[in-house]
């Protein structure tokens, strides 16, 4: 029997540390999209709290914490990142395993906002985008999910096939920000 | 007034005081045999060929603004005959032949420059498609040469051949393609039509089309009513508005296409180069400016300006293809209003109203078509029959699904071209 070696999406690309910014790949565990059936939003949120200890996130927000997080992921959809989604949720929502579909990185450091300002068309500064805020938007030309996980750190998800482009675009922006001193 | 080398020399030595206006500024008559709505390139060419080929000289061109103030005055001036589909091929082939004789025909320097067009390709599949296109061009009687990578390098040594995403595999070279001076084309046709007796009525906006018993009988304008038994609508950019005056809805949505010009530089790009994978094309004007553009902004617009994301995309594509242009300073940009049809091809046809004809839907490729469009539309208006080179540009092809001319092969639907 051949043993297949699993490679992470950003293997060989990350980590990067340039200037005041670091980028590392993170293993978020199991990724499951949760899309409540019509009229089942409340029931889904209750079930999520019962099973995983967090509410279904409101628009543009994330709930939970490192290790078990629910990220708002689009219209009537959240992404549960961490534990395998409890089977009881299936009663209220469509569940889809997306574990291998996404490249997940954390951008952190004093200049993280400046780096992302070069790549993302929304305002990610603390005053507009505080810890626990989440958005679906673009990183350069890539569709992405961005969550602020701390005063100087952002969790970014893009499609796994875009991992190399993400690392490249982040590196270019980090170098450009660092060059300004 | 005729142009000649001797005349240019004499005027040059005597302070250029002997030049007279190139056309008259007549008052509108109460009636004409035919009127053309629209004094752009296509309208002026139509008037010129109506007079020259069909002897119809009691005609007028009605222009809302001034001659050459529309899309003919704002485009990227490319002239080519590199189409693939029957229906398009013979038309653009005819147009290029007319271009090649245009300066002599009009006695006007339209600065037609056959510097050659190179369409780059970046994959085996794209090469196959270009081989097929090149063969179609040759079958039509036009010229096409398939260049390999080294062949392209000899012509265009300044390109980035090693680009990771789009390495250059080769190019389809169309030596007879090139550019022309856009304003001069309008002026040349205007002068030629005027000299044959056509009235060019500027500041004359059409506000209504008069129809009686299913037949057109004249137009209302800001300079008074004008009677005519034949009316041609040639107003790309505003086709839907003018057609609505005759109760028609068109298969057209107006989109914005941006273009850009840099400061004047010494000669560096001596071809027209297209980079289809990046939606980018470029040439250098005789004044030295790099003239380039990309794809539509992709939303309906009459604003004559686009948005920055598309501008950024075009610059990125340009830098990808030829990093050397990164130091050039952009001088100006603009947005033209494009008559976009579902299949990306134009309409030259009769309408359901007797005597009312329409020439529209040129998408983003109207400039090179100016001579053949005027030629064919004049033929249609004068004889009632489609010209053999433009018989495919039928109005009803969308409704019937027969004879769609989807050159790009993306489907006959709005917003796909």
């Amino acid at each position: 029997m051949v043993e297949l070696i699993a490679k992470s999406p950003c293997a060989g690309l990350l980590p990067l540390a340039i200037g005041d910014v670091q980028v590392v790949e993170v293993d978020l565990g199991v990724l499951t999209s949760i899309a409540p059936y019509a009229g089942q939003g409340g029931a889904t949120s209750d079930a999520l709290r019962a099973a995983h200890g967090m509410r279904f996130p409101k628009l543009n927000r994330a709930t939970g914490k490192d290790g078990a997080r629910a990220i708002w992921f689009g219209r009537d959809m959240a992404l549960l990142a961490g534990p395998p989604c409890d089977a009881s949720m299936a009663e209220h929502a469509a569940l889809t395993d997306q574990s291998d579909a996404w490249a997940s990185v954390v951008v952190s450091g004093a200049a993280a906002e400046d780096v992302l300002a070069r790549l993302v068309p929304i305002d990610l500064r603390q005053a507009h985008f505080a810890t626990g805020h989440a958005a679906r938007t673009l990183v350069k030309h890539m569709a992405a999910s961005i969550t602020r996980t701390g005063p100087e750190s952002f969790l970014i998800l893009v499609f796994r096939s875009m991992a190399r482009t993400l690392a490249h675009d982040l590196k270019e922006a980090m170098e450009a920000v660092a060059a300004r001193g | 007034m005729t142009f000649s080398g001797l005349r240019v020399l004499k005027e040059g030595l005597t302070g250029n005081r002997g030049w007279a206006p190139h056309w008259r500024d007549p008052e509108p008559k109460a009636a004409y045999d035919a009127v053309i709505i629209g004094g752009g390139g296509h309208g002026l060419a139509t008037a010129y060929y109506l007079a020259k080929n069909h002897g119809l000289t009691n005609i007028a061109v009605l222009e809302k603004g001034y001659i050459g103030g529309g899309n003919i005055g704002r485009n990227t001036t490319i002239v080519r005959a590199n189409y693939f589909l029957p229906g398009n091929s013979e038309f653009y082939s005819h147009s290029l032949k007319l271009w090649e004789g245009l300066e002599e025909d009009l006695n006007y320097n339209v600065m037609h420059s056959q510097r050659g067009i190179i369409n780059l390709f970046h994959s085996d599949g794209q090469r196959d498609a270009f081989v097929r296109r090149g063969n179609a061009m040759i079958t039509q009687g036009d010229d096409a040469i398939l260049l390999d990578r080294e062949g392209v390098r000899q012509h265009l040594p300044y390109l980035d051949f090693e680009n990771t995403r789009f390495p250059i595999y080769g190019g389809l070279y169309h030596p007879r393609g090139g550019t022309a001076r856009h304003d001069a084309v309008a002026w040349g046709y205007a002068r030629g039509a005027d000299r044959r007796g056509v009235d060019l009525l500027q500041n004359c906006e059409v506000t209504g089309i008069d129809i009686e018993n299913g037949a057109v009988c004249g137009v209302q304008t800001t300079r008074g009513a004008i009677r005519a038994k034949k009316v041609g609508i040639v107003v790309a950019g505003r086709s839907s508005q003018v057609a609505a005056m005759a109760g028609m809805r068109l298969p057209i949505e107006s989109h914005v296409l941006q273009a850009f010009v840099t400061e004047g530089l010494k000669p560096c790009i001596d071809h027209v180069v297209t980079f289809g994978m990046g939606h980018f094309y470029i040439s250098q004007s005789d004044k030295g400016g790099l003239v380039f553009g990309g794809d539509l902004d992709f939303y309906a617009s009459y604003a004559s300006r686009g948005n920055l994301p598309t501008a950024e995309h075009v610059m990125e594509a340009g830098m990808t293809l030829m990093p050397m242009i990164g130091q050039a300073k952009l001088l100006r940009s603009w947005g033209g209003i494009m008559d976009m049809t579902p299949d990306g091809s134009p309409i030259i046809d009769r309408t359901e109203t007797d005597g009312l004809f329409i020439d529209c839907g040129w998408c983003y490729g109207g400039f090179k078509a100016v001579p053949a469009s005027g030629y064919a539309f004049a033929h249609l208006m004068a004889t009632g029959q489609h010209h053999e080179t433009a018989a495919a540009f039928r109005f009803d092809r969308f409704r019937t699904g027969r004879g769609l001319l989807d050159e790009e092969g993306t489907g006959s639907q709005h917003n796909l071209h």
Partner: protein, 86 residues
Amino acid sequence: MRLTCPICGARDRREFYYQGEALARPAPGAGAEAWDEYLHLRDNPAGVRRELWQHEAGCGAWLVVERNTSTHEVLGVSLVLDEAQA
């Protein structure tokens, strides 16, 4: 040009995909003329019209956008879903 997505808020034009004029789809058996109108013929006004856009790189919602084609002024954005249920 920016559109205010009812879900995500004001966002850059880059995040949106433009589909075309917002039109009522004819019944399957409505006949060739009705389908020709729906698929091809447009009023194409130089002014205000209703269009379909999708917040492609955002929440994914389909939107009805009321927009002036002469000025690019956006007069209103609503969810297709809300309109369908109204």
